[in-house]
Symmetry: C2
Subunit: 404 residues, 2 copies
């Protein structure tokens, strides 16, 4: 797997979160010669919140996590994640695998069963060889390390070409509060919840219900605004644990919410930057729509259009395809009020190509790696921004022989 | 442009429709060295019905046709179609071009302005050099020929790799009634009306309102059930002319409706078989859904999924991606009641891979050119069938440099 041309320089230095420890191991679930299982342990006094895929065929681990999140509570907790096999559409054997892994984690760590959250990512519909995981639990438990987050991020990768992390330290009431998150995901990324795996940790003091509510709101502004291929996974999971170790209550803090938003948006962008076969990172800004919901419809119609995405891959300033996507979005639109921009270049307005637009300027702009396409609908104040990547030969290559 | 591997052996022998004449010419609208404009003349006593794209950015010729269809009426009529430029998103100049072409057709043929229907297909957002068309009208008019339908079908092609035609002769009250149709379309094909250009002719006697109503119903069962890339064109047009020359009234005839349905389904399938880069023709049959609408949602979610379509391109019997697509469709679904088949092979049932399923059987099946994927939802009686093709390197190639 070649590194994505849109990858950042390296894995960032993340703040250490007091009360959180990580371990990773090579269990050979599917892949050879790499780590594929991570264990995270959260200290006494932790709360856990989660957001999950809405797929009606979601996996056994997702269903198990949903139940446990609803149960709420506070105390020690553990996350166990494997890559290579998603344990989705695996019938009652899927539940058996989850139960076996949860029991093994509980045995090894002493965390109660109902505080053990598991995720699985990879191929759908094949039995999970959970024995390969459970046999490694003792090793994982003894390897737990407060500085092991990068190794954990590597272990959860599937078709990802780089490990994804983001962190912030924010000062509240004069004291530091830390947030660190990791994510995996490069295909099946569409905005119906994260469509990826994301784990975020903080030492903030916050109630489970406040964290759950904040996480839902911020997911809509971040992970639900990205799309790679419009497909939605059966396994997507965002889990966040707060240990409270900082002693700083962030329940009403706008600064904390902003910092968490930024970490989530960073991770969402990194997932797009690792989109299968991606060579361009594209921001689609829609303004002037009848409503915010309409703006989002237009943004996603553009961001998901195979014709728009192949034009971007070909560095073709094909604004006609943007018009096509606006037209098919189902949003209220008046052809003659649209303004379309590539970066700062006004390409089309008043239902026609702009008199000042020079094709060469558009073509030069499209050669950049990071692009911004703006559409002003000219109707009212509805706005939305979504992010996507281009559609290339690389996407076909990766997905035409993923299983073989 | 290489011929699609899914192309039929050749253009079919179509029945001659009394009262309809065709001509084609090379006007150089955009392409060199090929015909790019067709003229069709319908004799005295003809009625014309039409169905159009629902895009909110639809083209000037589409808007003009819609108005004229609503006006109704009976008498001589003409269709003028150019390829290479869609005259879409061309502001008020788009209307000027339509008016100029309509006037030139009227001058040359003597057909009244409000009975002249035009279509344009090709690049969006560039001014249509309509002078290149109007200057050819006298030539076109003198070339009109009852047997010119294949030449007309060739002139309307854009990225199509073969001309598309279908016909039927049906006996009603002991007398023959003939139907012949042509179509173009290989990209931007998604089920929101035809997303292509289709022209159908018959010598049946039928009122304009009956024909209009029949055409709408049959479009939902044919052109609205195919998808290539989920994108919707700004120009899509289905026009049908009935000359009445057979003298056979088909107003209530089920046999006529069935024959017209078959012509429309043939043309819809030919469009899929010429899908950009297509190497597989795929029927997706959904049964047992809560409602027909739910079945359609599931069928389209499968048929539009980039992950399903790339797996098919790779001849990978990846039924896990079918489960993913069912899950994201938004239709009511119970994972454990799904039955998935590739052809007659039961792949998955009861929420798990079928105990009798052998991966080799699935892999062998996927090597065929024509595939059928069936999903039984196991819930109720809702059914739908949709058709699509695979997503290949060819699609990327064609669309990453269409304009250049």
């Amino acid at each position: 797997m070649t590194l994505s041309p849109l990858a950042p320089a390296g894995f960032p230095d993340l703040p250490t979160i007091d009360g959180v420890r990580f371990a990773a191991v090579a269990a050979g679930v599917r892949y050879k010669g790499r780590t594929d299982v991570m264990l995270v342990e959260l200290a006494e006094g932790s709360v856990v919140a989660g957001v999950f895929t809405r797929s009606s065929t979601r996996s056994a681990p997702v269903l198990d996590c949903e139940t446990k999140i609803k149960f709420g509570g506070e105390g020690r907790a553990a996350f166990l994640v494997n890559s290579g096999n998603s344990n989705a559409f695996t019938g009652s054997a899927g539940d058996t695998s989850v139960a076996a892994i949860v029991a093994a984690v509980s045995d090894a760590t002493g965390v109660e069963n109902h505080r053990v959250f598991t995720s699985s990512t990879g191929v759908i519909g094949e039995p999970l060889p959970h024995d390969r995981i459970t046999v490694k639990l003792a090793d994982l438990n003894s390897a737990l390390d407060a500085d092991g987050i990068e190794g954990a991020a590597q272990a959860i990768m599937t078709t990802d070409t780089f490990a994804k992390g983001s962190g912030r330290t924010v000062t509240i009431d004069g004291r530091p509060v830390r947030i660190a998150g990791i994510a995996k995901g490069s295909g099946m990324i569409a905005p119906d919840m994260a469509t990826m795996l994301v784990y975020i940790f903080t030492d903030a003091v916050i109630s489970q219900s406040a964290l759950q509510s904040l996480l839902g709101t911020l997911t809509d502004q971040t992970f639900n605004c990205i799309t790679v291929d419009s497909d939605t996974s059966t396994s997507d999971t965002l889990l966040m644990g707060a240990t409270g170790a900082s002693g700083v209550d962030v329940g009403e803090s706008a600064a904390f919410a902003q910092a968490l938003h930024d970490v989530m948006l960073d991770l969402a962008h990194l997932v797009v930057r690792d989109g299968e076969g991606a060579t361009k990172f594209v921001e689609v800004r829609v303004s002037g729509a009848a409503t915010d919901a309409d703006a989002r419809k237009v943004g996603l119609a553009i961001a998901n259009s195979p014709l728009v995405k192949t034009a971007i891959a070909g560095e073709d300033p094909n604004w006609g395809r943007i018009v096509m996507a606006v037209g098919k979005s189902g949003a209220q639109a008046n052809r003659d009020k649209l303004t379309i921009r590539f970066g700062d270049i006004v390409v089309a307005e008043n239902g026609w190509v702009s008199p000042d637009y020079a094709e060469k300027a558009g073509a030069d702009y499209m050669k950049q790696q990071d692009l911004c396409i703006s559409v002003d609908m000219g109707l009212a104040g509805g706005m939305a921004t979504v992010w996507t990547c281009d559609l290339t030969h690389g996407y076909i290559q990766i997905n035409a022989d993923y299983r073989s």
